[in-house]
């Protein structure tokens, strides 16, 4: 069972994800270049935070055309677990794997702080280790994390319970306090907060571990196609 962390030019949380998975969760994890086109050896794919291609034009706008994204699309279509964190979330929306967009924060500034979140749906492949409505603390660090979608999409997200994390004290203007959503099939998650920054008590919070544990559990339970 092997995790792929995609490295786009300008990704800067890639090593943090590797450290969280390898050193804390004891998983087999590999960095995969944006130039690669094959993800068949992996059980899950993670798109890290950072500023891919400098975030020029719009966050994720250029990265969605990187060669690896074809493989990510296929991997997701086949039901594989894909998670995009922060810039990774932006890339997933630009690529159309998740609905909506991430606009500039309300107030315009970049915000780095700890955010109180509610686990709005603990029945997903990414959140099963949490309890429904559990309150957790995860760091956020973004300038464009203000989630927006139209009314119809929002109604659908709600109806299908695809809103997975919400902010308790909305820091960026996100619609319906959205901090993380899944696709319709439930195998693709995008979230602005950084679970990989919250896996060691030394650094202030361990609440992010649940997310990785949930993924590991999901993958262990199902027969992993290799």
């Amino acid at each position: 069972m092997k995790f792929a962390v995609i490295q786009f030019p300008g990704s800067n949380c890639d090593q943090d994800l590797v450290a969280a998975l390898r050193d804390v969760c004891q998983q087999d994890v590999q960095l995969i270049s944006y130039q690669s086109t094959d993800l068949s050896a992996f059980a899950a794919v993670l798109l890290p935070g950072g500023f891919s291609y400098g975030d020029y034009l719009r966050g994720g706008a250029i990265a969605r055309f990187a060669p690896i994204m074809g493989a990510v699309q296929q991997f997701a279509a086949a039901g594989g677990l894909v998670i995009g964190i922060c810039n990774g979330f932006q890339i997933l929306t630009e690529a159309g794997l998740l609905p909506g967009v991430l606009q500039r924060n309300k107030g315009a500034d970049f915000i780095c702080q700890s955010a109180a979140l509610t686990v709005a749906n603990a029945k997903t492949s990414f959140t099963s280790a949490y309890a429904d409505q559990q309150s957790i603390q995860l760091p956020i660090a973004h300038g464009e994390g203000n989630y927006y979608c139209d009314d119809a999409t929002l109604a659908q997200l709600k109806a299908e319970q695809r809103i997975v994390f919400t902010y308790q004290d909305n820091p960026n203007g996100s619609r319906a306090n959205i901090a993380g959503i899944t696709n319709q099939a439930g195998n693709v998650l995008g979230m602005m907060p950084h679970p990989e920054r919250a896996v060691e008590a030394l650094l202030g919070s361990e609440d992010g571990r649940g997310l990785f544990q949930s993924m590991i559990q999901t993958l262990t339970d199902k027969v992993v196609p290799v």
Binding site: L57, R58, A61, I62, F65, T93, E94, P99, G100, V101, Q103, R104, N105, K106, G107, A108, N146, Y148, D150, G173
Partner: protein
């Protein structure tokens, strides 16, 4: 050689936090006459192509990259350049 001018703006239904911030700032700078402000992106492209193809090319560029059609609309003008 053709030159394209491309304008990308948020769709009307979308709240633009940046435009709000600029509008507030302009009001604070004492420009009360400002009633509305939209902001967007502006691109100028030079294309080594034929007149027939220029429009298709620019259309594709907008669709694929320059605009996020989920929330932005775009328009362009194409003129011959020397």
């Amino acid at each position: 050689m053709y030159r394209a001018k491309v304008y990308v703006t948020y769709k009307d239904s979308i709240l633009d936090p940046q435009a709000e911030a600029i509008k507030t700032a302009l009001h604070q700078l004492e420009f009360p006459e400002l009633t509305q402000l939209t902001c967007g992106k502006y691109f100028e492209l030079e294309l080594a192509t034929t007149e027939a193809k220029a429009a298709t090319t620019v259309e594709q560029m907008c669709q694929k990259l320059l605009a996020n059609v989920n929330m932005e609309s775009y328009r362009y003008e194409i003129v011959a350049a020397e």
